[in-house]
């Protein structure tokens, strides 16, 4: 019987690094880099999504962006939804995390309940709330039965934007609760104990001990919600469809409408690239701004 023991092949360190990196590199290139490069290429064309040979239009799509009133309006709506939504998600997430950061069965159940909306698909959430807030919806019936005029949750542009923010916050803040709870677990109890010994009250303990120690969690929560809300689309589609009169169009909603309803895929690609750059710049900027607070924790 021949000796089955094979000689052990040892790859040079560089080669083993390359072998280990290859699968991830291929995936990243295939599913992230290539689509971005193709989108960037299409953004300089007049592609309608149907013709095989798009024509180059140079920077026309980007210049058009600057003068398009719909883009300007969608940018404002997106800004409102993002700023108000990010603050509300974090305030609600942190507040509930502080309340639920105690052992107990009830708190365990409540954590699951609070997280539940996050696992429902956004389209379903949109339709669900449209059945509640619509002019013929559940709340309107309650008002009507009580002899009052229904509130224009979805028919008035200002109310409709408010409704979108409220629904988005309801659907998102569960994950913020979980992340803040994880952050709260990392605060050493000894610090709280020391603060108490020094005579600090609840608010003082929170401000001087808990909040600074939560800095990394705050950064993660802010960036995650900010990026998510800048791309909000499905809830708008199911809740208002961009209406009334396009007044609740967000930037992501506009990109999809322009690309697939009006067959302006080249222009839609220019909008998408612009949004991507804005998201990257804001995420990096916010992370850089938060670095000082995080450094104070690690110091």
């Amino acid at each position: 019987m021949p000796n089955s023991k094979r000689p052990r092949v040892t790859l040079p360190l560089g080669a083993s690094h390359a072998v280990l990196l290859t699968p991830a590199t291929i995936m990243i290139v295939l599913f992230m880099i290539v689509p971005i490069v193709l989108a960037a290429y299409l953004s300089f064309t007049d592609w309608d999504g149907l013709t095989p040979n798009p024509q180059s239009v140079g920077w026309d799509n980007y210049t058009r962006l600057l003068h398009d009133a719909d883009v300007g309006h969608a940018a404002i709506v997106t800004l409102i939804v993002t700023v108000v939504g990010t603050l509300a998600c974090n305030a609600a997430g942190l507040g509930l995390a502080l309340l639920l950061n105690r052992p107990g069965r009830l708190n365990t159940v409540l954590r699951a309940v609070v997280f539940y909306p996050y696992v429902i698909g956004p389209i379903i959430i949109g339709f669900l709330w449209s059945a509640i807030l619509g002019a013929n919806g559940a709340i309107a019936h309650v008002f009507s039965n009580a002899g009052h005029s229904p509130l224009p949750f979805l028919s008035d542009p200002t109310w409709a934007i408010g409704s979108i923010v409220a629904v988005v916050v309801w659907s998102q803040f569960g994950v913020n609760v979980v992340l803040y709870l994880a952050g709260l677990q990392t605060v050493p109890p000894a610090l709280h104990e020391a603060a108490r010994v020094d005579g600090a009250g609840r608010w003082q303990t929170f401000r001087s001990v808990t909040w600074p120690m939560l800095a990394p969690s705050v950064t993660v929560n802010l960036v995650l919600v900010l990026v998510g809300l800048l791309r909000v689309y499905e809830i708008v589609l199911a809740l208002t469809g961009g209406g009334p009169a396009g007044r609740t169009n967000t930037f992501a909603f506009l990109i999809l409408s322009e690309s697939f309803r009006a067959n302006h895929l080249g222009y839609g690609a220019a909008q998408a690239i612009t949004l991507m750059v804005v998201i990257a710049a804001l995420a990096l900027g916010l992370t850089a701004l938060r670095r000082r607070a995080e450094d104070a924790v690690t110091a």
Binding site: H17, T22, D48, L50, N136, S257
Partner: protein, 421 residues
């Protein structure tokens, strides 16, 4: 370490270049030409418009007699996976996997991706095939005529308001709506979504396209404008309704289904809609009547319609011969056409089915109309740019907010001029 990094970078760059070259050289998955294929043996993929009435099962039952008679042919029914048939077709074309037959509302941009239908009598006889011509070529054949620009009305509401005859002119209609409001009804039902713009288009069909059937051809060459056409009077009339409270105050918060429910519950007195509303009204068993959309001058106008369940063959289909033969069956076979007509309550001369009383009323409107015009955004060379319906809907909804009819007309003219090809 520098060497390792360089090797990794070179490998990554090579992979990226290879993938990009592959992606670019295939023209994004488009295939300019397909092939006739074998007419007796093929698996045909049909991309269809699925609605509560036109279900997948409906289409499967529709083609079954054909596949039973042609054992070599199998048919796969595909529902849209994107927003609608047009968007799904766009994605399938880009992915290099187009269907053989497609049924749905398609814009003029799509025509280069569709096969020219033959210059044969059965094609010319199919509803709206002649009107589908782009550059002289027919590319779509309908199974029937789907009537638009109808005003459904609650008979009890009309009686209570003392209205004994349907209004003939738009001014008469406005006066009737005022009386209906006085009788305690929501005078005319509307909703957000696509409904607002579609209803205004139905008002315009009779008044704009009736007088100038090739209106979109003229608008495409800037020979006419929205602001300088009867569109102006139509929008002013509609704006007047909004200001006088003749439409629901919360209309923009309603969906199409809500609008149907409100009307069929008897809360609203009239509902401007297309013939596809007939099956829902029949199912609700309400005493509903229908009259044609009144005109500016009160004279009878041509009936506006669209092809119902229109069929096209894709240019990149590898089974064009079999697909065309199935298309011929779908627009000529008596049983198949009747089934298609009955499903949505549509019409076609020479094809009759057991119609409901309300459907017969619509049929009488079609019979009495002096002519038929292609409704809404037109068809073939005589059609608006893709995206017109959405843009018009958005602008018309502005009348419920702070927009004036003149601003809407200016905006739609501006949009049209930027997008007309």
């Amino acid at each position: 370490m520098t060497n390792i990094r360089r090797r990794v970078l070179v490998a990554t760059a090579a992979a990226t270049t290879a993938i990009l070259l592959t992606a670019c050289s295939s023209s994004g998955g488009f295939q300019d030409t397909g092939g006739a294929g074998d007419a007796t043996s093929a698996n045909l993929r049909l991309l269809v418009n699925v609605t509560p009435v036109l279900t997948k099962q409906f289409y499967e039952d529709l083609v079954k007699p054909y596949t039973d008679a042609h054992p070599g042919i199998t048919v796969t029914i595909e529902a849209p996976t994107a927003a609608d048939v047009s968007a799904t077709l766009q994605q399938q074309l880009a992915a290099g996997s187009p269907p053989d037959l497609v049924s749905g509302s398609l814009g003029r941009d799509t025509v280069p991706q569709l096969a020219a239908l033959p210059e044969e009598q059965w094609v010319k006889d199919a509803p709206y095939a002649e009107q589908s011509r782009v550059g002289g070529v027919m590319w779509q054949a309908g199974s029937g005529n789907q009537v638009q620009s109808l005003v459904f009305y609650n008979k009890a509401a009309f009686t209570k308001a003392g209205l004994t005859a349907p209004p003939k002119s738009l001014d008469d209609l406005t006066a009737a709506l005022v009386k209906l409001k006085g009788a305690g009804y929501v005078p005319t039902q509307t909703a957000g979504e696509w409904v607002t713009g579609a209803q205004v288009q139905m008002m315009a069909n009779s008044n704009v396209l009736g007088a100038t059937p090739d209106w979109f051809v003229k608008r495409n060459t800037k020979a006419v404008t929205f602001a300088g056409s009867p569109w102006s009077k139509v929008l002013e009339t509609y704006h007047g309704w909004v200001k006088q409270g003749l439409t629901p105050k919360d209309a923009m918060g309603l969906k199409y289904q809500d609008a149907m429910d409100q009307f069929l519950a008897g809360k609203s007195a009239t509902f401007i809609m297309g013939g596809w509303f007939v099956p829902s009204a029949d199912e609700a068993k309400k005493d509903v009547g229908v009259f044609p959309m009144p005109t500016l001058d009160g004279n009878p106008a041509p009936v506006a319609g669209n092809p119902s369940i229109p069929w096209s063959v894709t240019k990149s289909s590898k089974n064009q011969a079999a697909a065309l033969d199935l298309l011929k069956f779908l627009v000529t076979d008596k049983d198949a056409v009747t089934k298609e007509l009955k499903a949505e309550g549509n019409f076609r001369k020479g094809f009759e089915y057991d119609a409901t009383p309300l459907n017969k009323e619509v049929g009488a409107i079609v019979e009495q109309a002096p002519a038929t015009v292609v409704a809404s955004n037109g068809q073939g060379d005589n059609s608006a740019p893709t995206g017109f319906n959405d843009e018009l809907n958005k602008l018309v909804q502005g009348l419920y907010l702070d927009q004036k009819p003149a601003d809407v007309l200016k905006s739609i003219d501006g949009w049209y001029s930027s997008n007309a090809k």
